[in-house]
Symmetry: C2
DNA sequence: TAATTATGATAGTATTACTATCATATGCAA
DNA sequence: TTGCATATGATAGTAATACTATCATAATTA
């Protein structure tokens, strides 16, 4: 079914739509793999070009630079996340149940029903967890925010925020709790893999269950 | 009084101790200013060298590369934060009061009593808020963690964690809540300046009071 | 068949991220 | 005072990065 849905990304992020051509799709697919492998800092267009047996010049026809490409990938992920959140809660009227499902989607994006062959959502999810914060923690955030580069991310928060409001209409900090849920979920996955002292979640078999349990506990406490 | 205290930073982060010489102190002072001004990505040793009227070669005698210099600054900040947390809670026995003070220190590091002329704590605090996450969101986090580059950060979390445990000995998620407090506090300051849709805190006069109020509210709810 | 478009091949520039060498100044030790 | 170590500066050089430009050619489309 997912085959019929396509993700639309802010067109200021690319020069030429990478989803529209073979080479473009190759760039997306392999940039995700390479950034995951090398880290964003060590990833270069040259390395990507060599990897896909193309040239730097060709890649520059799609993206201005690697930051834009990276923001493109982040936006693709956020748009996809928005779709997943929407899609999985469409017939759920109980807001508490809805929030629970949203937490599950955030944690376990593996339940995907959208397969775009040129994007590996699992690797992308990992990439977002590891490097995602770099997308908006930059000196140029204001300028990029003006260009709408964070709309999709803000939409994810808005959806969470909306659901919190449905649960507790008089809750005074919906937006901060929404962004906290997002960041806390991701960072606890990251911490459990790399900085275990910073999390109560152990990396292992039932990590996702543990994390869901914890996030539900925290959210329940906060929303009373 | 602070004049007599010095901050010790993991010696694997530098080649030659920058706190031990004029040039080293100049490097620290001006790297903070320049990274704040240009952003970490656009900051280079060449620009720093020109700025302080020295040479790249001289700077490389102190730091291997800019990542190490950046990690040094982060560590300096974290060590300093640890000192501030410790120093401000030393005679406070009520753990709830202690946590409240710790939140205040996190939010308003302006109450500083340690003046090292070669570090501007205010700019450094801003820098940590804007770029701090880049310190540990990297592909090389495991290796760097092994070298102890995050000990000071983990110590901050440990102190928070400890205090939470004093408040509620049976609380199951002290570590995750501790890291959440840290990250949420910083990101809400950042968001209120740059991505207001992601926070309930408005940038302005009484932001710090509002933030403290919110963080206390959240923590109170979570700890019951 | 001609025209357009997409990609590849190649070259070139400025900047970055270093490393190496030599000269000089400064301080301390004998 | 001489001498020696140490710190910094000055200069040069290399490989990689981050682009930009031009031309050739293959594939599409009109």
């Amino acid at each position: 079914m997912g085959h019929f849905l396509s993700i639309t990304v802010n067109d200021k992020l690319y020069i030429k739509d990478p989803q529209s051509s073979d080479l473009g799709q190759k760039i997306l697919k392999n940039s995700i793999i390479l950034i995951d492998e090398l880290g964003l800092d060590n990833f270069t267009f040259k390395k990507l070009a060599d990897h896909i047996e193309s040239t730097e010049a060709s890649i520059y026809r799609y993206f201005e630079n690697k930051q834009k490409l990276f923001l493109y990938l982040l936006n693709w992920y956020w748009e996809w996340l928005n779709f997943m959140l929407e899609n999985n809660t469409i017939n759920v009227s109980d807001p508490r149940k809805k929030l629970r499902i949203m937490l599950m989607v955030l944690i376990d994006s593996a339940k995907r029903n959208l397969d775009v062959e040129y994007i590996d959502e699992d690797i992308l999810h990992r990439l977002v967890i590891v490097e995602g914060a770099k997308g908006y923690h930059t000196k140029f955030v204001d300028q990029q925010n003006n260009e709408g580069f964070f709309l999709a991310y803000k939409q994810v928060c808005a959806s969470l925020s909306q659901t919190i409001m449905e649960i507790k209409p008089d809750f005074p900090y919906t937006r901060s709790v929404a962004s906290m849920i997002l960041e806390m979920t991701f960072s606890n996955i990251y911490f459990s893999d790399h900085l275990p002292k910073l999390t109560s979640i152990e990396s292992g078999e039932d990590r996702q269950d543990e994390l869901l349990k914890m996030m539900e506990f925290i959210v329940d406490k906060i929303l009373g």
